[in-house]
C-alpha cells in the first residue's frame, strides 16, 4: 500500500481550478520532489496532505486523498491527529519566541504530554536527528532567535520530528538559506528518509535531483510527468519536462 495516494484530486479556490485530476502514489520511506514553475500548484498539492487548505476560505476539494490508505477528508476524521502524523516545515524558518528547548517541546506539550523526562528525551533525540544537537547542546535555554537562519530551519525540523510524525512535508525548506545551510538540510533529508516519508516542494531543480527518489513535474495545476528522479533527469518521457529541467522553458 502506498503511504500517500491521491485519486483524481481537484482543488478550486473559488472559481479558480488550481489542481486538476491529480493521481499519484508515494511509497513509504521515499523522498518525492514536486517541481514546476511558480504558481503551478505545488504548495497547494502539498497542503492537501495535512488539510492546510481547509484554513483557506472558499476552497473546494474533490477526489480522494489517502494517507496510510485512509481517506483524510472523510467525515469524523480527527484533523489534529492527522497533523501529528503529517508534519510540515515551511520556507521561512518560523521558530516561536521561546527557548530552543521549548520550541522542540512545544508540540508535545500542546498534545498534553506531561512526563518531564519523556519530553527531555524526545527533545534531545529530535535535535540529534535534525543534526543540530552538537551546535545547541550547551544553550538549550537560549532564545531560538539567537540561532542562524540555517540553524533555525533545522530547529523547525526538530520541532516537527518531536511529535513523531511519519510523513514530513517541506515547502521550499532551503530557499531562504545560504549554500552551506542548504547542503546541511539536503544531507538531513537523506538521513530522515530512512524513518519518514518526505514530500518536498522545491523550485531548485538541482535540489530535486540531489535529494529525491521520485520527481513530479507540475504545470498549470496538472501533473505532467511523474517518475523516478534518475529517469526524469536523464531521459524524461515528455518534451515538456525536458524543456523545463533544461531551462528551455516557454
Amino acid at each position: 500500500m502506498a503511504k500517500i495516494e491521491t485519486l483524481d484530486a481537484n482543488l478550486f479556490y473559488g472559481d479558480f481550478h488550481a489542481l486538476k485530476n491529480i493521481s499519484m502514489q508515494m511509497e513509504e520511506n521515499t523522498v518525492t520532489a514536486l517541481i514546476g514553475p511558480s504558481g503551478c500548484g505545488k504548495s497547494t498539492y502539498l497542503r492537501l496532505f495535512n488539510r492546510m487548505n481547509d484554513l483557506i476560505d472558499s476552497t473546494r476539494i474533490t477526489g480522494q486523498i489517502l494517507v496510510d490508505g485512509e481517506d483524510i477528508y472523510r467525515k469524523n476524521i480527527n484533523v489534529d491527529e492527522l497533523r501529528i502524523k503529517v508534519g510540515m516545515v515551511f520556507q521561512k524558518p518560523n521558530p516561536f519566541p521561546k527557548s530552543i528547548f521549548e520550541n522542540v517541546a512545544y508540540g508535545l506539550r500542546v498534545n498534553g504530554e506531561k512526563n518531564k523526562s519523556y519530553i527531555e528525551d524526545k527533545v534531545v533525540q529530535s535535535l540529534k536527528q535534525s543534526a543540530l544537537w552538537n551546535e545547541v547542546s550547551d544553550k538549550l535555554t537560549k532564545s531560538a532567535f539567537e540561532l542562524s537562519g540555517g540553524q533555525q530551519q533545522r530547529l523547525c525540523i526538530a520541532r516537527a520530528l518531536a511529535i513523531s510524525p511519519s510523513v514530513i512535508l517541506m515547502d521550499e525548506p532551503a530557499s531562504a538559506l545560504d549554500p552551506l545551510s542548504t547542503a546541511k538540510i539536503e544531507e538531513l533529508i537523506h538521513e530522515l528518509k530512512k524513518e519518514y516519508t518526505i514530500v518536498i516542494v522545491t523550485h531548485n531543480m538541482q535540489q530535486a535531483s540531489r535529494v529525491s527518489d521520485y520527481t513530479a513535474f507540475f504545470y498549470l495545476g496538472e501533473l505532467v510527468e511523474y517518475g523516478q528522479t534518475v529517469e526524469i533527469f536523464t531521459k524524461p518521457k515528455l518534451k515538456h519536462t525536458e524543456n523545463y529541467i533544461t531551462g528551455r522553458f516557454g
Partner: protein, 224 residues
C-alpha cells in the same frame, strides 16, 4: 561525508572490480598464448561479457551522477576520469579477447617458442600487465608519481613493437612455412602495444583527476 561522496565511492568500487577482472583477462590471455591453452581462451570469451556489462553499468552510473548531483572540481574530474578509464579498460578487455580468439582458432598445437623468444613476447605482455596493475594502485592510493612511472613502461612496449617488424620479417625469410603464425604473432604484439597505450591514457586521466593537469598530447616530457 556528503551523499555525492557515497555515490563516488560506490562508483570507484565498481571500477576497481572491473579493473581486476580486466587484469585477470590479460593474464589469462598471456597463459593461453604461452601454453597454447584453448581452455583458457574459452574462459576469456566467457568473461568478456562480464567486462561489457561493467562498462555499460559504469557509463550509466557516471551519467546519473552528473545529472543528479552536478559534481564540480575534483568530484567532476573524478567522474570524468572514471568515464574515460572505463572505456580504456573495455578496449583492453577486447585485446585480451583478440589474443584468445587467435589461440582458439589456430590449427597448431603451439607457437614456436623460438619465435616468442626473439620477439621478447613474454617480457612485453608482462610489462603490459604490470602497467595495468600500477595504474590501478596509483588510483587506489591517489599516487600521481606512480601514475607517471607508467609512461616509461610504455616506451619499452613501443620499442619491442617497433623492433618486432624487422625480427618477424627475418624470421619469415628463414621459416617460410611458419608465415601464418609469424604474421599473427605480429598482430598480437600490436595488440599488446595498444594495451600499453590505453594504460598511458589511464595514467593521464589519473593525473588529470588528482592534479587537475592535462598531460594529453604533451609529448614525451610528462611530469607532475
Amino acid at each position: 561525508m556528503t551523499h555525492l561522496d557515497t555515490e563516488l565511492i560506490k562508483l570507484k568500487h565498481q571500477l576497481f572490480e572491473m579493473w581486476s577482472l580486466v587484469i585477470s583477462q590479460v593474464e589469462t590471455s598471456r597463459e593461453a598464448l604461452m601454453n597454447f591453452d584453448k581452455g583458457a581462451a574459452s574462459e576469456i570469451a566467457f568473461k568478456e561479457k562480464m567486462v561489457d556489462t561493467y562498462e555499460l553499468k559504469i557509463d550509466r552510473e557516471c551519467e546519473n551522477i552528473i545529472a543528479l548531483y552536478n559534481p564540480v572540481a575534483s568530484d567532476l574530474r573524478l567522474t570524468l576520469a572514471i568515464l574515460k578509464i572505463n572505456t580504456d579498460l573495455e578496449r583492453i578487455g577486447d585485446f585480451a579477447r583478440g589474443i584468445a580468439r587467435f589461440v582458439k582458432k589456430c590449427p597448431k598445437e603451439s607457437i614456436n617458442p623460438e619465435l616468442l623468444k626473439v620477439c621478447q613476447f613474454d617480457d612485453l605482455i608482462k610489462n603490459a600487465i604490470e602497467m595495468l596493475n600500477d595504474a590501478k594502485s596509483s588510483l587506489e592510493h591517489e599516487n600521481t608519481r606512480m601514475a607517471v612511472s607508467i609512461f616509461s613502461h610504455d616506451d619499452f612496449l613501443d620499442d619491442v613493437h617497433h623492433n618486432s617488424n624487422k625480427i618477424i620479417a627475418n624470421y619469415i625469410k628463414k621459416h617460410p612455412d611458419e608465415i601464418d603464425e609469424a604474421l599473427n604473432l605480429h598482430s598480437i604484439i600490436r595488440k599488446v602495444e595498444r594495451i600499453g597505450d590505453h594504460c598511458s591514457n589511464i595514467a593521464e586521466e589519473i593525473v588529470f583527476y588528482i592534479e587537475a593537469k592535462v598531460l594529453k598530447h604533451s609529448g614525451k616530457i610528462k611530469t607532475v
